[in-house]
Symmetry: C2
Subunit: 319 residues, 2 copies
């Protein structure tokens, strides 16, 4: 008989680094460096809502951790450890092996060991809870409220591909196997710029990760910092696979599409060369897309001065 | 329209202490005292499995946090903060208000502020994920592996009531409203001995909280510490409401019943007076129920020397 303890032991008990106390006691124990504060973020992922039942379990394991690491990155924090809660309607060893492999691959890549968790039989559908812990110098943490008038606005990576892949999988766009092939990795295997984000602590001002759409998420910075923004549409790093799509579809995906897990941040204009050098060092694309203004809310302009109107808001889990 | 952000803001955004960064950024930030390590524990609670759909939401909120605080207690750690993930099939404001009130009541009582979370629409049934963080001096942490030959074995509070209440609610015992009335609080509003447990750090050796049943959980200490145990049945703190039940029903509930969230710990015999004084100070009952022996596994004896055989194991979430 497979029981809860066997399960945990079998799939999620790889050795943890010797300076941590991991799975197998009431709590995990994790040391912090002197002068650092603990940064913590948590996400709940529900089958049928955040992922489809037939999603590749390796990608799912990878992404479940990646989206949380993305929150640490957006704070400029260094990952320390993570815990995983998993509610499963059935015990499928092949699914579990693949999920665990994906989760551990991401944990290894980010040096963020799994140190504890809880596995239980759920009533229907897989539910995944991930909590990540990091550390950051509180003086250097990238807070949403730190943007200042005149700051440059930057974004990493490219925009729009994950949203297009999701629309294709949900048949909201006409079937297009070539387009799905070139966008699917952005949706299923996001690569938040973890190293680069850490190097921005003390360099950039405000930051967040784009999960619900560039405009909606930037709006959180603007609200917390009591300011507005002007973005230059032509400066936005549109994913190359989107170039064949109608402009309106591109604009919606680039400005409103979620699941990006890239960084949007602001910084003083004096930091431009530093930021580009850090991005080059980390192998990350960083694009300067606009600036912080007075007022509130964001406007997006084309080079000819026309404003871009955005047809839909970002993803809302309760809409 | 109620959306995700409104929900979080409305029900789970009470002010957090000013030395913490709470809800509203990518991560919460929590400082640790010098020389302390972070202790972390996480639990996933699924409707229909860990609680019934019609459970009082105030009690549910209270218990969801209490069971995690119980894990911190079992490590001797001081609570610092918690995060909450909540998947809800529908948005019921009355349910949410009551749940949040219960959760906050427990958070306030334990000085463990809610600093972050994630709320989402679930597909079916409520799923609750709670992760708690505490701090503990790693030299004084109460590890499962620390029991030594000859140690006293102690347990706090009383045993058996939660299990009897659960059996009554599940109609596994004949209806008995008076018995349910006197045992239900133990099941729905557990009171882990948080203050007492912290005071045991550096005094006791091994400890854990009883969630799956005394014998099963003690078994984890014995396995991790490579030793055995002998318990005196008459020394066990049987909940007074159980005295009218047949001996076999009592024994099963006391030795095998879960959902206790009291502490089982071991300590050197030289610490007896200290432990009783600390228990008195904290207003907690502490009973010395046996001792650590050579060998492996636990035996339970009556005063006349007869061994008590245990008819069933503790609760297994995957059985």
């Amino acid at each position: 008989m497979v029981n809860e303890f066997d399960l945990i032991a079998r799939y999620f008990s790889r050795p943890v680094p010797s300076h941590l106390l991991g799975v197998g006691d009431d709590c995990a124990l994790v040391p912090l460096d002197a002068g650092q504060q603990m940064a913590v973020s948590t996400d709940l992922l529900v089958e049928g809502r955040h992922f489809l039942a037939d999603v590749d379990p390796y990608s799912l394991g990878l992404k479940a951790l990646a989206v949380n690491l993305s929150d640490l990155a957006a704070m400029g924090a260094q990952p320390l450890a993570c815990v995983l809660g998993l509610a499963l309607p059935t015990v499928d060893p092949r699914w579990l092996v693949a999920f665990a492999n994906g989760f551990y691959a991401q944990a290894d890549a980010a040096q963020c060991p799994l140190v504890g968790g809880d596995t239980t039989r759920g009533m229907s559908g897989v539910v995944i809870s991930v909590t990540v812990f990091g550390q950051v110098d509180p003086q250097k943490a990238l807070r949403r409220s730190a943007a200042r008038l005149g700051d440059d606005i930057w974004v990493t990576g490219s925009l729009g591909a994950a949203d297009i892949a999701l629309q294709l999988l949900q048949h909201a766009l006409p079937s297009n196997p070539a387009l799905l092939a070139s966008t699917r990795a952005a949706l299923e295997r996001p690569e938040p710029p973890l190293q680069f984000a850490q190097s921005l602590a003390g360099v950039a001002r405000a930051a967040l990760d784009i999960s619900d759409g560039l405009l909606q998420d930037l709006g959180h910075i603007l609200a917390a910092s009591h300011c507005g923004a002007e973005l230059n549409y032509e400066a936005l790093p549109v994913h190359p696979a989107l170039r064949s799509l109608p402009p309106a579809v591109q604009e919606a995906a680039v400005l409103g599409g979620g699941d990006v897990y890239q960084l949007c941040f602001t910084a003083d204009a004096s930091k431009r060369e530093t930021i580009l050098a850090l991005a080059h060092l980390a192998g990350v694309e960083a694009a300067r897309i606009g600036c912080i203004t007075e007022g509130s809310g964001a406007i997006v302009k084309r080079a000819d001065g026309r404003a871009v109107t955005v047809p839909r808001a970002g993803f809302d889990h309760f809409s």
